[in-house]
Point group: D2
Chain length 252, copies 4
Amino acid sequence: MIQMTLIQIDNYGPWTVTPAPRAEADLQILQSELYADLQRQFAAKGGLVFFTRFDNMLAITNNVDMEDHRRIQKSIGNRYPITVSMGVAAAETPYEAQRDATAALQNYGGAQSEERKEVLAIDGLVNKEDSFVQIAHIDINGITDSLTDIIPAYDTSFIVNRVQHFLMKKLIEKGSLVFFIGGDNFMSPCNGLSPEGLLKIVEEIEDETNIALKAGIGKAPTAEKAANLADLALEEIRGGVTYDLVHVMNKK
Amino acid sequence: MIQMTLIQIDNYGPWTVTPAPRAEADLQILQSELYADLQRQFAAKGGLVFFTRFDNMLAITNNVDMEDHRRIQKSIGNRYPITVSMGVAAAETPYEAQRDATAALQNYGGAQSEERKEVLAIDGLVNKEDSFVQIAHIDINGITDSLTDIIPAYDTSFIVNRVQHFLMKKLIEKGSLVFFIGGDNFMSPCNGLSPEGLLKIVEEIEDETNIALKAGIGKAPTAEKAANLADLALEEIRGGVTYDLVHVMNKK
Amino acid sequence: MIQMTLIQIDNYGPWTVTPAPRAEADLQILQSELYADLQRQFAAKGGLVFFTRFDNMLAITNNVDMEDHRRIQKSIGNRYPITVSMGVAAAETPYEAQRDATAALQNYGGAQSEERKEVLAIDGLVNKEDSFVQIAHIDINGITDSLTDIIPAYDTSFIVNRVQHFLMKKLIEKGSLVFFIGGDNFMSPCNGLSPEGLLKIVEEIEDETNIALKAGIGKAPTAEKAANLADLALEEIRGGVTYDLVHVMNKK
Amino acid sequence: MIQMTLIQIDNYGPWTVTPAPRAEADLQILQSELYADLQRQFAAKGGLVFFTRFDNMLAITNNVDMEDHRRIQKSIGNRYPITVSMGVAAAETPYEAQRDATAALQNYGGAQSEERKEVLAIDGLVNKEDSFVQIAHIDINGITDSLTDIIPAYDTSFIVNRVQHFLMKKLIEKGSLVFFIGGDNFMSPCNGLSPEGLLKIVEEIEDETNIALKAGIGKAPTAEKAANLADLALEEIRGGVTYDLVHVMNKK
Ligand SMILES: Nc1nc2c(ncn2[C@@H]2O[C@H](COP(=O)(O)OP(=O)(O)OP(=O)(O)O)[C@@H](O)[C@H]2O)c(=O)[nH]1
Ligand SMILES: Nc1nc2c(ncn2[C@@H]2O[C@H](COP(=O)(O)OP(=O)(O)OP(=O)(O)O)[C@@H](O)[C@H]2O)c(=O)[nH]1
Ligand SMILES: Nc1nc2c(ncn2[C@@H]2O[C@H](COP(=O)(O)OP(=O)(O)OP(=O)(O)O)[C@@H](O)[C@H]2O)c(=O)[nH]1
Ligand SMILES: Nc1nc2c(ncn2[C@@H]2O[C@H](COP(=O)(O)OP(=O)(O)OP(=O)(O)O)[C@@H](O)[C@H]2O)c(=O)[nH]1
Ligand SMILES: [Ca+2]
Ligand SMILES: [Ca+2]
Ligand SMILES: [Ca+2]
Ligand SMILES: [Ca+2]
């Protein structure tokens, strides 16, 4: 089972314009430092956070317990002008886990409620024996030579965004999520997805967009280890160890 | 004229996997802190950076001169394990500015060249009299009540991404760019775009996606001031001062 | 027993002047961000880091195991232009623990050795049952009214430094350490020191410098908890719960 | 003339214990990130900040005007749970400048006043023609071989603190300030101090403490450039270009 946490900034929309709109540069710094900060704290326990919308972040949190969540929440409250609420749930697929985590938090009030503050809403936590995370690290082939070094930077980012859009659309049907992690890279929490299932999607996207992808899949008890195995699988594709476009590595 | 800078991490792809793939959490922290850091430094001169692909960032840099660019570049080189190269250009539209900034940098070698390091490639800088930035701050109406508080967090982010995709596709034809800035917000450097032109796009997107948008437009000599005016225009729409979905504010 | 870790930047002196002296502002940012970063990571496991010399930091690390140290070390190596080595030891007093931690690291080569890199030298770790940390939080009485609001800022900081110097001199004889933690505050890892011993020192300092101090003492299995209890003890003195200038709180 | 700014966290003492004492690790992170943040922003204009007490920081701010101060103040207020007030003054010596900057701020209320918030109290600013900063970068000879690599880390830091104490005591009489900048390094804003005056102090300290120092002095219109020249002067001593223990470099 995969455990996911929704991290939501409390009443953030109104705050950004009170008493007057705050400088966008400051909001950008605040958001990205908050994300980096949460990442560091969840990573210390083997978790992995995705920036998602920045005001709403989704994280894989197998091995991160209730006390850890509380400590992180308090630490943010002590150092930022805003606070965060969290919802946590565990399920067979990432889609279900984030859905239940969201619902758990929604129960306590809206994102712009003035009362809801530093809520920790736990629908369920994974225990050690059932902890299982499957992650696919999906990457565009040779983006540097074919795009980055040739066409304008914005056009490349437009293509990357388009690929993301296709990936999201196709993977959500399998209960899998897709997050952009920078460059030409996507990370997909995908418990329950078969390598063949992913390969089919990769092939469809190549047909529709003319962009060739490759994907390493890792399976392990924590996001940290699963992501690392996915990276190693990707390197084996890059290194020619395998001809498959989707390659799996399990924790030995 | 708008001045744009492309900031590119030198030879970053290979670095992320040398000697072995680096922990994804560390890369995420590195990327978002680098972005926050650049933002703070460009903002000190009235500029505004967009995270774009994180390994390639685009910035509006009117009022940021050559010496400023150099100082920022050196400061990053002193504090990170990586270095950055930059391309700078000025043009009538944001699309052209980023295109020429990219080309200026590409001239010096590829993003994964082992020789190219800390290059500053200046195609052109805007002088004070010609400095002009137009920014639209585009926002989804009532996302909190209609999406965030009701449906799963991932589904909301999927819709936001879809809106971004439509915006990018339509605005690029006008020479305007679109960047996601978190939440349900987009910022569009859009010199040359008329309010009517933007309104038409907003209406088309509502037709196609059923998502209602609003947009504040600001015009000023720097990105900082233009963004601030765009925010104020957006607040006037929110406050009911105007019934228009696209509202403009000029620097007095 | 208290466990302490010495964190030393590898070959830092030469790096600061290669190829030419790096901007002091950049070094200051690098050093304080590195410190904040380490603090966050050690704190996630109940540890506490003191900035000490910035290029050499001492930390109380009960409950932080070998794997944690490794992860932190790697994470720093992935995100900074420098690497860190560490020495770890456990002993009855903080003085002995840092002495043995230092010696363990010194065995592997000098601070400016070109070969020594990312060493983790473990002399010993505390096990759960023996884990015990005693911390005194020492504070100047009424510094705001008597100094900060009246005399020049530099003069106040001079007095604070003088108090620190006296505290260090007197406490080292008891096997206790003293670190400046900002404002008018000092934190003293002080396993083995009696409240009466500390009171005597506080009284001597008042005689010699005319500065009145108070101190809360906390005792617990981790630095985090001991520091928290010390803070609570200090608040009880502030609140008039006790007339003693040195007040102790134990973990219930 | 040298321009100095006192940066003071508003009502910080009470905040640290409201509603209950905040985790010391969080306060340490907050303080050092705030310092790094201010450093980056002042450095963008050629200024240099010293951490001093962390809740009260002194900065050399020649070339940083009123608008810059305001922007920095607002930017901090947008991203931290606390706000900062500032006092600014210019004078012939650093001591006088910080004294007048402190007095300017004290006029507006105490450091723990509940009313005083985000005050900018300007006693005076330096104009371009009169802008002059003299900085000495003072360093211990061969600390690595003689202390760091041989004795316990705490003992070395005790000696460094002792040297700082002597330096502060002797330099304040000349109207010069001394700040610890990490390692075995001190930076002294010292307009008006002659090289011979500093040499005498260096020699006295060697007599009294047996610690040999060297010092590079830089003179320039901004702190950034003066510090850089001081570093270069220090390197010339290290490189054997001069036998003097105090060596001066002027801006060409
Ligand atoms: N977040 C993240 N980004 C990565 C990683 N590896 C590469 N990238 C990003 O991807 C960009 C492109 O690098 P590569 O994928 O190595 O380059 P490429 O030209 O596509 O080459 P191939 O993928 O080997 O065909 C880099 O600039 C990084 O931004 C990773 O492990 N994590
Ligand atoms: N970057 C950025 N994000 C903002 C800004 N204002 C709001 N947001 C984001 O947008 C999210 C939604 O806030 P709002 O747009 O105020 O909420 P809403 O429910 O859509 O309400 P209306 O837009 O007033 O209809 C917030 O959580 C923020 O993430 C801004 O100025 N800059
Ligand atoms: N690091 C740290 N600093 C603190 C803490 N509490 C207070 N300070 C610092 O100490 C400074 C002075 O605050 P106080 O000690 O409350 O003020 P005071 O005037 O001395 O009042 P009393 O100590 O109550 O007599 C603050 O500005 C902070 O910098 C704490 O828990 N940790
Ligand atoms: N802040 C700052 N610290 C420095 C600088 N240069 C060196 N250091 C610090 O000083 C420490 C000791 O380095 P050095 O002074 O080069 O070493 P040393 O053994 O004393 O050698 P010499 O000074 O050449 O006799 C380093 O670990 C750094 O912490 C600098 O320019 N700025
Ligand atoms: Ca790729
Ligand atoms: Ca909205
Ligand atoms: Ca006090
Ligand atoms: Ca030295």
